[in-house]
């Protein structure tokens, strides 16, 4: 679709014309688990159709940040807005009231999520995994799909991730890479504005990583906003228009892949990449 726009991050206006949706604004978000503060005031904007890749050492709060975006994790302070609408809360007077569950579910249908451990429903076939949500989830401004519609769309999506012929297979009969591709199709079934990827290839055998990354590369060109937490630095360099480096609950620095990977400003970023990237070349 907008292949040109996605490869040039400096032209969001051109992309807006086609998509006009999926702007993510994270503002001063804080989150603690017990006494440990895992997010210490995160502010981050991802443009519509943009691809932000979050990297950093484990325990730096990357996954938690991702989970606050669809309100799987409630924030302690700060707020998150998608296309100007708050996630999980509504403004009444000078207060933010948490939305009832049903409204939050509606918001979540606009934010797809792909998990490290796939979390496919093991008792449902690949196709049933993909068609479940469109049929039963309450949608914002859209009717629920009929079974037949969901099925047609499901097969189309499975075809897109290269698994149309495995539609009737149960997750346990699929390889890890295939499972993750089904999970991506499942997330796409609700036609979300934004897709969140939480270390999508970390649970995969090395030779299966690329089949998943290829699917995500395809999505990066589709105009959907992608926010990806990953340890695959080569992939990050390839696909991102913004790379965000997090450490200890803070964003240390962010910029284009060129800036972050080859010319980082911060010492912490430099030392992290020296540990992560170089060993890979020393094989």
């Amino acid at each position: 679709m907008s292949t040109v726009a996605s490869s040039t991050p400096t032209a969001p206006a051109a992309r807006d014309a086609e998509t006009t949706r999926g702007l993510v604004e994270i503002t001063k978000v804080r989150k603690s688990f017990g006494v440990t503060e895992v997010l210490k005031g995160i502010t981050l904007t991802v443009e519509p159709g943009g691809v932000a890749v979050i990297v950093g050492p484990s325990g730096s709060g990357k996954s938690t940040l991702l989970r606050t975006i669809n309100h799987l994790e409630k924030v302690d302070a700060g707020f998150i807005a998608i296309d100007g609408t708050l996630v999980g809360y509504e403004v009444r007077g000078r207060r933010l009231h948490e939305l009832p569950e049903k409204e939050i579910l509606k918001q979540r249908t606009e934010i797809g999520m792909v998990f490290q451990n796939f979390n496919l429903f093991p008792h449902l076939t690949a196709l049933e995994n993909v068609t479940e949500a469109p049929v039963v989830a309450p949608r914002a401004g859209k009717p629920r799909s009929s079974r037949a519609e969901a099925r047609a769309r499901g097969l189309e999506l499975l075809d897109r991730v290269g698994l149309k012929d495995r539609a009737g297979a149960y997750p346990r009969q699929l390889s890890g890479g295939q499972q993750q591709r089904v999970a991506i199709a499942r997330a796409l079934a609700l036609d979300p504005k934004i897709l969140l990827f939480d270390e999508p290839t970390s649970a995969l055998d090395p030779e299966l990583v690329n089949e998943v990354l290829d699917v995500i590369r395809g999505l990066a060109k589709s105009g959907t906003t992608l926010i990806i937490v990953t340890h695959e630095m080569g992939f990050a360099r390839d696909v991102a228009d913004t790379v965000v480096f997090m450490d200890q609950g803070q964003i240390v620095e962010q910029g284009t892949p060129q800036e972050i990977f080859t010319n980082p400003r911060e010492e912490r970023t430099r030392s992290f990449f020296s540990k992560v990237i170089e060993p890979a070349f020393n094989i």
Binding site: L72, E101, K102, L105, M113, N119, L120, V136, P138, Y170
Partner: protein, 371 residues
């Protein structure tokens, strides 16, 4: 070097005698082996390599048992054990058949008598009603126990605590004698005179009602724990994924969590239902004419105690067997997705045995014959 070559040459004839197929392989090794040291006198390094490859080829051929027949290990003690057990079983069967005091004639006479069949139907009715209601209530209690509300959690916990810690017999008698504690039962607003409904306790709580009430509440307390255990066994990521997809709460429970929890719930739940079938016999204290009470009434009249207890026992065995078959197929249904290939049903196994096993043995004997 020549020392490594010599054993090769010596070992070469051996495989030739062991098998015809291995002879062509060893033939060049046998010629190369002695030729090496004879011509070069053991100087060139290249010769060492060729001698060694020839040596390994020769050794390989020596250990080639391809044509040997496999003989499985014998287990004589297994046969002895089997024989002892078989003898014991035969002895018991013989005594059951020949000891006239079992009075099989009386058993046969009463087994399908109208009064027994009526009692049996009452037993099945009690089991079905209190089993179904018990598991529905148990499911609600399990959800309460897992909810975020401290009140619901403690109500559910207290329910299970009370009904699991009092004997079923006491519960039964208590429900039946509820009229002694509360003369009237009414539905209305507490602490006011508003009443929507009012009735005499004794007319409301019949023997049947007391039996169902007692069995149901007791069953609910146990099944709540079974269902809760099943729900807890489902990976948290499943709920998370369903939530992230915007699937509503009720649908998450019934479509995503419960079917997966069933695998953990079913074996124990069937244990409970089978226990309940026999547990219904306890309602004899209410003089409710289910299977066991009916049998008691009859043997009090005819004095044929053991044969009539056998009649009841055999029916319980029949019900349990039928339930076990159900259990197998229901568990199999819920195991889809958890196993790569479903296990064969007994019927499929039998078919497979008949289609492959029987003709296969015929074939092998034929093959052996041609060889």
């Amino acid at each position: 070097m020549s020392s490594t070559a010599t054993p090769v040459a010596q070992s070469a004839p051996e495989p030739a005698s062991a098998g015809i197929e291995s002879a062509p392989d060893t033939a060049p090794a046998g010629t190369a082996g002695p030729a090496g040291p004879a011509v070069d006198g053991g100087t060139a390094g290249a010769e060492t390599a060729s001698a060694e490859t020839a040596g390994s080829a020769g050794r390989k051929a020596a250990t080639d048992y391809e044509d040997y027949r496999l003989v499985p290990a014998r287990h004589p003690w297994r046969w002895v054990g089997t024989a002892v057990v078989a003898l014991g079983v035969a002895g018991i069967a013989w005594s059951l058949a020949t000891n006239p005091r079992w009075e099989w004639g009386v058993v046969a006479q009463w087994f399908t008598a109208q009064s027994i069949v009526n009692g049996l139907l009452e037993t099945l009715k009690l089991t079905a009603i209190s089993g179904a209601l018990g598991f529905i209530l148990g499911f609600i209690l399990a959800l309460m126990r897992l909810s975020a509300s401290p009140l619901l959690v403690s109500v559910s916990w207290t329910f299970s605590w009370i009904f699991r810690s009092t004997p079923l017999l006491v519960q039964m008698l208590l429900w039946y004698n509820l009229g002694y504690l509360y003369e009237k039962i009414s539905l209305g607003l507490p602490f006011t005179d508003v009443r929507f409904f009012e009735a005499q306790t004794t007319t409301l709580i019949s023997q049947f009602a007391a039996a169902v009430l007692g069995l149901t509440l007791n069953q609910a307390a146990y099944s709540a724990e079974i269902i809760r255990g099943g729900i807890l066994s489902v990976d948290q990521g499943q709920l998370e994924a369903a939530t992230a997809l915007g699937i509503p709460a009720w649908r998450r429970s019934t479509r995503i969590v419960l079917p997966q929890a069933m695998r953990a719930i079913l074996p124990t739940a069937f244990n409970e239902v089978i226990g309940l079938v026999k547990g219904t016999s306890i309602v004899y204290v209410l003089a409710y004419s289910e299977l066991f009470y009916t049998v008691q009434v009859i043997y009090n009249r005819t004095q044929q105690v053991l044969p009539l207890l056998l009649v009841a026992t055999l029916w319980y065995v029949v019900i349990t067997s039928v339930l076990s078959v159900f259990q197998y197929y229901i568990e199999r249904h819920y195991s889809k997705g958890a196993v790569r290939t479903l296990p064969l049903t007994p019927l499929q196994k039998a078919r497979k045995f008949l289609s492959t096993h029987a003709p296969a043995t015929g074939k092998t004997t034929q093959e052996r014959g041609t060889r």
